[in-house]
Each structure stands twice: as structure tokens, then as C-alpha cells.
């Protein structure tokens, strides 16, 4: 926290890992564990058992016999188990294998000549100094080289082949095959000289190879494996405790058999059992052996399982912690708050706090909060005195006295209030716009409220999505959030040089309806529209003065434009019959803005839409700054919504209905296509079909049929579009880009067209036919998933089946894609997260290693570029003189 002295912080320089030696294990042990018993009849822990009190106290009120602390102060103490015979440590099998293969069985020297040893040692020393990242390559080289040597260069002994039978059995192959016992392995490893060990990449000071074979194992403190009391009063032990008991039991049996001089087979069996228990104690997911199970059949969670994976110690508890001052709830829309605000339920605002340092200037405010207390918003939950003592206002009766005792220097943890800056996040956090800073608006209700225009960066909708909120606690964090993370700072996305925030759906329809030529508004309507904005100026001159004053929608939009803004651009509706190539446009589909006045054209997806680069909205953000863009988004866009509310906007079955003669023409087109397909099939049957290059005749036929059918569907769509009223609401949405496209409309009114699975016509199911309704081998459109009906007329049962088959593939694809791309993203981020750009433009790793000599080779920030180029000369000219050259 900010009030801790900073001088105690130290910087980690390096971390070195080693292996515990048997001596170290004994030295750190407080008690040797010898019995598998845990508790006696009275429920008291048995001395020398795995719950020995000397391993640390975890019951409240007891004192530790070792350190004298209570459960809060006792850190826990290790014990140890002396193994009757050594066993292999499962984590070091690979190293043991390499060492055995690379050293002589007789003299335990590395299988390299003295000269080579000297040479490699000095090379390794130099590498470590100059290119530490190359050391693994040298070690790998030595490993491969030594494994191939046939005869020991030191004692001349012929080398035998070592075989590893996973997970822990080693065999020596000479004439016959002989098992190497852990005893024997340990003896060999012990005799390898330190310098030879170094050549295998192991530092003998930290990890002698014989320590890879366990002779004694540490018993972790009780705090590491606490037992839980069930409600019934039955004690339930931790998985590790169970496993330790197994080890001790196996160990004791082995010891007894050895003392009783039992036959070697018996001893070997018990030895193997001990090996199994020690292996599963360390890692219960070793391939090749059955995992140790709990009585209930559940696999035990042993040491490796505690660390590994998503819920393991690293990813679950160290990289990912649960944090204070955070909240999560369902989100819902509120078009009346700013894009950089977030609506927070009052209930939440009373639990989330911000530390507020009392000064002479805010003392009255602080007193008010303290007086209100923890249950009345806006109040306070805690006060912290200058000496660091905390007072919990929930348990303090006389708040009035407390409030008057406040002096500068106190810290009041006050409730969240309007204007506080918080971080708002929706998972999956795939890009930086997934966490943005918002300003708080405390509102009634139980959901977070957000402006609809910030849905695209979060990829949020309101079908039950939940989001997280974090309250930043320090002044530095607030400053950073405000300057770098606020929503408007992220309107331009670095993914493509364009705005990621922008109009969508109703905003676009509304903008189109408002700015279209036929819209004329009375004074009353103008007042109503402007009343939802912050516009404070005069009304412009009306476009029509007689018989009543009327204004155009374009005039209202112009009120919000900067006075020197010039733009000429095509609109989304500029297509088909309404196409125009320049500003002299009769159809009103070419956007012309001069000196901040919208002169011609309409606003639609191409100008105000989200994710539209080089658009009206993009230039506004780029040229007039993000704060102005926010102002425009909050006011002008709200006016669009108000207009569509007044206008009314809906879509009905009638919107996709076409006259009978159109249906007749469509039927004709489809019939023609069907005849052509029949001819193609006929030609194929006769063998007259000329195969396309690189395709079999079958593939050729399929390609040609698909091509013919898709042409038919397009033609049908054109016919349908011809008959649809250009001002019907469904078509307006498609044309302006608000929602849907022409294809969707043709599927509704003309014909659905070809359904496909894996890019082919539907051909799976029965032998030679997708459904028993068709003859085997029927290749006609109807038998291969072509849907003649439209959504309006309705699908036949067979057609519905084909449609469902195609639809299902889409669902499966999305499910598979998200998991795969998620994993790819994780790996990419892990690899790239440490790269930073230096002040001189180099992209480097934290140690200064160069990744790119110059960021992106041109040092251009994609968010501020135009199609990757630092300047767009054409746009500058247009801005200055109002038109192109």
C-alpha cells in the first residue's frame, strides 16, 4: 500500500534452483516420522506419526512444542522419513537416464577424453558469461555425444546399453537384460566427479546427482496439509497426509521384511510398492502407472497437482489472485449516460470505498461522510488515524463526535460517489479495450449500466453478460486510469487504424432517418430532439419558413460539427440504383460536409459506424481529439436515438413479402437452374463433362452445380430486391448497414438457397443419399440440400432438416474456434508480454535484448496511422481546401 515505507523494497537479481540433499533434509527436520498411526483412541496425535505436534500447531489455543508460538505465529516445521531402501525421484528420471548413459558403468567418469572435458568446460564457462541462452544447446550436444560412446576413454571398459522402462525402471543390456536397482544407480551417480557433473548442465554444489535417488524424504508441516473437521465431528485428512501414511506403511513393511531376512522376491515386491507410493506422492499423474485413489475413487491431489495447471499454485494463486475493491454483476444498457460512465448500484457503492486523505479543504466533506456512516450513501466505512489505527464505523456509536475529531492527516475510506474513476472489464480480456476506465454514476437497481456504444470494444451484449469493476485506490493509479485508460482514449483501436467505438443498429437507422432528404421537423420536434443533448446555442434559420417553420435533420446534425470540418465520402446506401460517383448526387447518397455544415448525403454505417476506418467519425476523432469525439458521441448520437423513438421503427412480415409476379419470376429462375443442373448431371453420366484442371469429374460436377445454384440464388435475390419498397424498414436496415444485409432479405423473401456442410452440398447420412426421401445417387439440387422455399413461405420438413444441418456446423465451428484461438492467444501473450519500446524506438526485452531495431521498422503507432502510413496527404488537402485536387 502507498503508506508503507518504500525503502524496504529490494530487487530480485536472480533465482537459483537446487535439489535438497539428504543431509539438508535431516537438518531441517524436527522429528523423524516412524509410525503410520496418526491419532490414538482419545484423538490425540501420536508422537512420531504424520500429525506429530512438532510438525506445527494448527488447532487454536495450543502452543507449538518447537517454537512456542500459537497457530497464528507458528510457521510449521518439517519432519522426515528414513527410507529402508532408496527409490528414484520421479521428477529426475530424465536426468538420471542421461547421466547413466553418459558415464562409464565401471569408473563413473563422463564418456569423454580428458582433453575434451577440459575443452568443453572452458567453452561452457565462456558461454555462461557471454551467451547464457546458448548453454542448453552445448549441454544437449554433450548429452548426444556421450550417449553414443562405445568404450570408456578413461578405463577402457566396454559400454552397455541403458534402457529406461517408464516411469522408473532402469535396465542394463549387455548379453542379457539386467535390472538396475536404485541402490546400484545411486552408487554409480555418487562416483561421478563434480567436473563431469557440470558437463551435464548440473551444478554439483546445488544438486549432486545421487540426490536424485531418495534415501530420506521430507515430511511437510501440518499447515501444508490441514485436516478438516466435518460437521459430524469426523476428521478428514488431506490427500498428502494419506499419501505419507501409505509411504510409511510400505516403508515399515519393507524394513521388517529386510530385518527378518525375507526372500529377495518379497523384498523386491515391497520395494516396488514403496517406489509406487513415493512416485505418486510427488506426482499422481505420471503416465504408465495408475493414479493413487481416495476411498471414494477420486484421484488424489498430490504435490505436482498442487502446482500445475490453471487452478495450480502458479496460475491460480500467484499470477491470478482475487482482489479487494472489486465487484461483479449483470450488465444492462443505458443510452442516457455518457460512454465514459458506468452505472453502479447504490448497494455496491456502499461497499466499495476510496481512501480520502483529509485536508483543510475537504474536511467538511469528510465529516459529512463520517456522519452518514456505513449504511447511508454517500458515507464512509472506515477511518484511519495518522498513527495507522483503523476505526470500523459499523461498530462505532457516536459518529458525530468522531466526525468532529477529524483533523488533516486522517484518511477516510468513503463510499464510491459520482465521478470516481474505476476500471471496468469484461472477459475474455483479449485486447487492451477489454479493460477501460469509466466514471462512476451511482444509480438505483442491481446491475451495472453502460452506454450501448461501448459494447463493441468489450464485445458485450445484454443477454446475461456480467462484468467486473475495480476501484483504483491511489492517486497515481487514478491519474494513469484517467489519462491512459478512459473510454475515449480507446475510440481508435490499434488493431486497424480506425474507431472501434461508433454507431450501431438503431443509432445508424436513426441517423439515416434523421438526415434523409424527406425529413422535415417542426419547431416543437427540433426542441424535443435538442433537449436530449447539451446543445445550448440558438436555433439555426429554418430551411422552410412558410406556412410553418421547418428544419431539416441535416441542419440539426450540423449544429454539432466543428465549423471548419470538410468531408466528401460515399455512404453505405450509395449502391445499386442509388449509386452516385461524386457530390453532384440526386439520390442524396454522397456525403458532403463543408465548413461544418452537412450539405448533402445521409449519415449511415460508412460514416458513423463502429469499426469503419476513414469515415466521418474516424476523421472527427483524429482531427478534433478524443474529448470532442466523446462529446459528439454522447450528444449527437443520443439525438439519433431520440429521433428513431419519435419516428417509430419496426419490421414485419409485410416487409419481406413480394408480389405474385415476382414469385413467379423467381420460380422461373430456379427452374432454369434446375434444368441446367440436370443437363450437367446428364453430361457427367455420359462422361462428356470436361474435368476442370486438377479435379476429378465428380469434383468438377459438384463445383459446376454449386456455381450454377449460387448464381440462381443471386438472381432470385435481385428479383426480390427489385420488388421490395426501398423505404421499407427491413431494407433500410440492410442498406444503411444498421443490421442484416441484402442476402438475409433474399433468404427471407425469395429462396434460402444451398445449405452446406464442410463447404460441400449436403451428402452425408444414408448410403448415396442424405435422407430416405430420395433415390440413392440422386444429384439433383433438392436431394443435396438446396432449399427452394424462403423463410417467409416456410420450409418443408426435408428443407428444415438440411437447414438445421448447415446451422449446426456453424455452432460447432464457433465453439472449436474460440477454444483454439484462446490457447493460441495465451501462448502468444506469454511469449510477447515483456517486450517494450525503448525511448530510442528499439523494441527490446527487459534485459535489453533487441527484438526489433526500430518498432515496426517505421515506428508508426497503428492507432494513429492511416492505413499504416503516418500521414494521409489526400485527407489533409481535402480538409484544407474542401475538396480533392
Amino acid at each position: 500500500m502507498s503508506y508503507l515505507p518504500q525503502s524496504t523494497l529490494k530487487v530480485l537479481e536472480k533465482i537459483k534452483f537446487g535439489v535438497l540433499s539428504p543431509d539438508e533434509i535431516r537438518k531441517m527436520s524436527r522429528v523423524q516420522i516412524i509410525t503410520a498411526e496418526t491419532y490414538d483412541e482419545d484423538g490425540m496425535p501420536i508422537q512420531g506419526g504424520v500429525m506429530d505436534p512438532r510438525l506445527g500447531v494448527i488447532e487454536p489455543g495450543r502452543r507449538c512444542p518447537v517454537c512456542g508460538n500459537t497457530m497464528h505465529g507458528c510457521p510449521g516445521h518439517f519432519g522426515h522419513i528414513e527410507l529402508a531402501k532408496p527409490v528414484i525421484h520421479i521428477g529426475y528420471v530424465k536426468q538420471i537416464y542421461d547421466l547413466l548413459r553418459g558415464t562409464c558403468w565401471k569408473c563413473s567418469r563422463i564418456l569423454l577424453s580428458e582433453d575434451q572435458i577440459k575443452e568443453y568446460l572452458s567453452l561452457m564457462e565462456r558461454l555462461e558469461r557471454l551467451f547464457p541462452n546458448l548453454k542448453p544447446r552445448l549441454i544437449e550436444h554433450i548429452r548426444q555425444k556421450t550417449a553414443k560412446v562405445q568404450e570408456c576413454p578413461h578405463c577402457g571398459a566396454k559400454q552397455k546399453k541403458i534402457k529406461l522402462d517408464k516411469p522408473t525402471n532402469f535396465y542394463e543390456k549387455d548379453k542379457g537384460v539386467r535390472k538396475l536397482s536404485p541402490d546400484e544407480i545411486r552408487a554409480r551417480l555418487t562416483h561421478i566427479p563434480d567436473d563431469d557433473v557440470r558437463l551435464f548442465g548440473i551444478d554439483p554444489k546445488e544438486a549432486r546427482p545421487e540426490w536424485f535417488v531418495l534415501t530420506v524424504i521430507p515430511v511437510p508441516p501440518a499447515q501444508v496439509r490441514p485436516s478438516i473437521m466435518l460437521e459430524t465431528g469426523v476428521r478428514s485428512e488431506d490427500d498428502l497426509t494419506h499419501k505419507l501414511v501409505d509411504i510409511i506403511r510400505a516403508n515399515n513393511r519393507l524394513k521388517e521384511s529386510m530385518d527378518a531376512a525375507a526372500p529377495p522376491i518379497v523384498i523386491d515386491d515391497l520395494w516396488e510398492l514403496l517406489q509406487y507410493h513415493v512416485t505418486t506422492y510427488i506426482n499422481n499423474e505420471v503416465p504408465g502407472i495408475p493414479p493413487a485413489r481416495h476411498r471414494t475413487g477420486r484421484a488424489l491431489k498430490t504435490l505436482a497437482q498442487r502446482l500445475k495447471g490453471k487452478e495450480g499454485r502458479f496460475r491460480g494463486n500467484l499470477s491470478g489472485k482475487r482482489v479487494d475493491f472489486s465487484a461483479r454483476t449483470v450488465i444492462s444498457p443505458d443510452p442516457n449516460i455518457s460512454i465514459n460512465e458506468v452505472g453502479v448500484p447504490e448497494e455496491m457503492a456502499k461497499l466499495l470505498t476510496v481512501p480520502m486523505r483529509v485536508t483543510p479543504w475537504n474536511i467538511e466533506e469528510a465529516r459529512k461522510y463520517v456522519m452518514n456512516g456505513p449504511y447511508k450513501w454517500p458515507g464512509a466505512n472506515y477511518i484511519i488515524r495518522p498513527d495507522g489505527r483503523r476505526t470500523d464505523l459499523r461498530f462505532f456509536k457516536d459518529r458525530k463526535a468522531l466526525a468532529s475529531s477529524l483533523t488533516p492527516g486522517y484518511i477516510v475510506e468513503r463510499h464510491l460517489i459520482d465521478g470516481d474513476i474505476v476500471l471496468f472489464n469484461r472477459q475474455p480480456s483479449l485486447h487492451r479495450m477489454s479493460i477501460m476506465a469509466h466514471k462512476v454514476r451511482v444509480l438505483p437497481g442491481k446491475t451495472f449500466r453502460l452506454n450501448l456504444l461501448v459494447c463493441p470494444p468489450y464485445n458485450a451484449d445484454f443477454d446475461g453478460d456480467e462484468m467486473n469493476l475495480h476501484v483504483v485506490q491511489t492517486e497515481e493509479a487514478r491519474a494513469e486510469a484517467l489519462e491512459l485508460m478512459l473510454v475515449q482514449e480507446h475510440i481508435l483501436s490499434p488493431r486497424y487504424g480506425g474507431p472501434i467505438i461508433g454507431g450501431l443498429q438503431d443509432y445508424i437507422s436513426g441517423a439515416y432517418l434523421l438526415t434523409t432528404k424527406s425529413t422535415l421537423l417542426t419547431e416543437e420536434e427540433v426542441m424535443d430532439l435538442l433537449s436530449v443533448t447539451d446543445y445550448k446555442g440558438e436555433l439555426p434559420e429554418p430551411a422552410i419558413t412558410k406556412p410553418v417553420k421547418m428544419w431539416t435533420g441535416k441542419q440539426l446534425v450540423s449544429l454539432f460539427l466543428p465549423p471548419n470540418f470538410n468531408l466528401r465520402a460515399k455512404t453505405s446506401v450509395n449502391a445499386g440504383r442509388l449509386k452516385c460517383e461524386d457530390e453532384d448526387c440526386f439520390n442524396d447518397t454522397y456525403l458532403v460536409i463543408k465548413k461544418g455544415k452537412l450539405l448533402a448525403g445521409v449519415l449511415d454505417k460508412k460514416s458513423i459506424g463502429a469499426q469503419q476506418p476513414e469515415s466521418f467519425y474516424h476523421w472527427i476523432v483524429k482531427e478534433y481529439g478524443v474529448d470532442y469525439a466523446r462529446f459528439l458521441t454522447d450528444n449527437m448520437f443520443r439525438m439519433f436515438i431520440r429521433y428513431i423513438e419519435k419516428h417509430g421503427f419496426t419490421m414485419s412480415l409485410d416487409d419481406v413479402e413480394i408480389p405474385p409476379e415476382a414469385e413467379e419470376r423467381i420460380r422461373e429462375i430456379l427452374k432454369e437452374a434446375e434444368e441446367d443442373v440436370a443437363q450437367l448431371i446428364e453430361a457427367y453420366r455420359k462422361g462428356e463433362l470436361e474435368p476442370l484442371p486438377g479435379m476429378t469429374p465428380e469434383e468438377t460436377l459438384e463445383t459446376k452445380i454449386m456455381e450454377r445454384l449460387s448464381r440462381a440464388r443471386d438472381q432470385a435475390g435481385e428479383v426480390a430486391a427489385e420488388y421490395l419498397d426501398i423505404f421499407n424498414n427491413a431494407l433500410i436496415m440492410a442498406r444503411t448497414g444498421a443490421r442484416g444485409n441484402i442476402l438475409n432479405l433474399t433468404q427471407m423473401s425469395a429462396a434460402l438457397g444451398q445449405q452446406s456442410v464442410r463447404g460441400e452440398r449436403i451428402n452425408r447420412g444414408y448410403r448415396g443419399r442424405p435422407l430416405p426421401h430420395f433415390k440413392p445417387g440422386d444429384l439433383m439440387p433438392a436431394a443435396r440440400g438446396f432449399v427452394y422455399s424462403s423463410f417467409r413461405t416456410g420450409l418443408s420438413p426435408v428443407e428444415l432438416f438440411f437447414h438445421a444441418a448447415g446451422g449446426r456446423e456453424g455452432l460447432v465451428d464457433t465453439a472449436v474456434r474460440t477454444s483454439q484461438s484462446g490457447y493460441m492467444q495465451r501462448r502468444l501473450i506469454n511469449a510477447l508480454m515483456d517486450i517494450r519500446v525503448e525511448y530510442d524506438g528499439k523494441a527490446t526485452l527487459p534485459d535489453g535484448t533487441v527484438v526489433q531495431f526500430s518498432y515496426g521498422e517505421d515506428q508508426v503507432d497503428p492507432a494513429r496511422s492511416d492505413h499504416g502510413k503516418p500521414v494521409n496527404v489526400d485527407r489533409i488537402i481535402e480538409r484544407v481546401i474542401g475538396h480533392e485536387l
Binding site: L130, F131, T849, V850, V851, F853, S854, E857, D858
Partner: protein
């Protein structure tokens, strides 16, 4: 392996590589504020490195066409391997 030998430098996908003489190399490193260990590495066994005859420890300059910046110059240090 391949019967016909050809110069990899002739290939259109191989950018221009050149050896940097030692005095110039120290100069460049000073300019970039780097020590040799922080440079990207290229193996001595790399076909182009063999072709231009650069030895471990030498600096190689690579001049290539860049999609974003037209022409770009980068450096590699030759390492054993």
C-alpha cells in the same frame, strides 16, 4: 546433398547480408547503445553467413525491403553453431 551448388544470395527471397568490419561494428554498437550479447543472433552454419564468410563474433548487416518502411537495416551477431 544437392548435386548443383548455387549461391543462396542470388535467391530473390534472401535479403542482402554483408559483413561489418570490426571498427565500424564497435561504432554501430555504441550508436545503438547495445553490447554484443543483446544483439539478435545468427548461426555460423546459416547458409548466407557461410556464403559471405562471416565468423563467430562478427557483426552482419542485413538490408531488406520492408512492407512498412520501404528499406530497413538490421544487425545480427554470428554465433557458433
Amino acid at each position: 546433398m544437392s548435386p548443383k551448388k548455387f549461391d543462396v544470395r542470388e535467391h530473390r527471397l534472401v535479403p542482402k547480408h554483408e559483413r561489418v568490419p570490426l571498427p565500424e561494428a564497435t561504432e554501430i554498437l555504441k550508436e545503438l547503445g547495445l553490447d554484443p550479447t543483446q544483439l539478435p543472433q545468427i548461426r555460423a552454419s546459416d547458409p548466407v553467413v557461410k556464403a559471405i564468410g562471416a565468423k563467430p563474433g562478427e557483426l552482419v548487416r542485413i538490408i531488406r525491403e520492408s512492407e512498412t518502411a520501404g528499406k530497413t537495416v538490421v544487425y545480427r551477431i554470428v554465433v557458433v553453431g
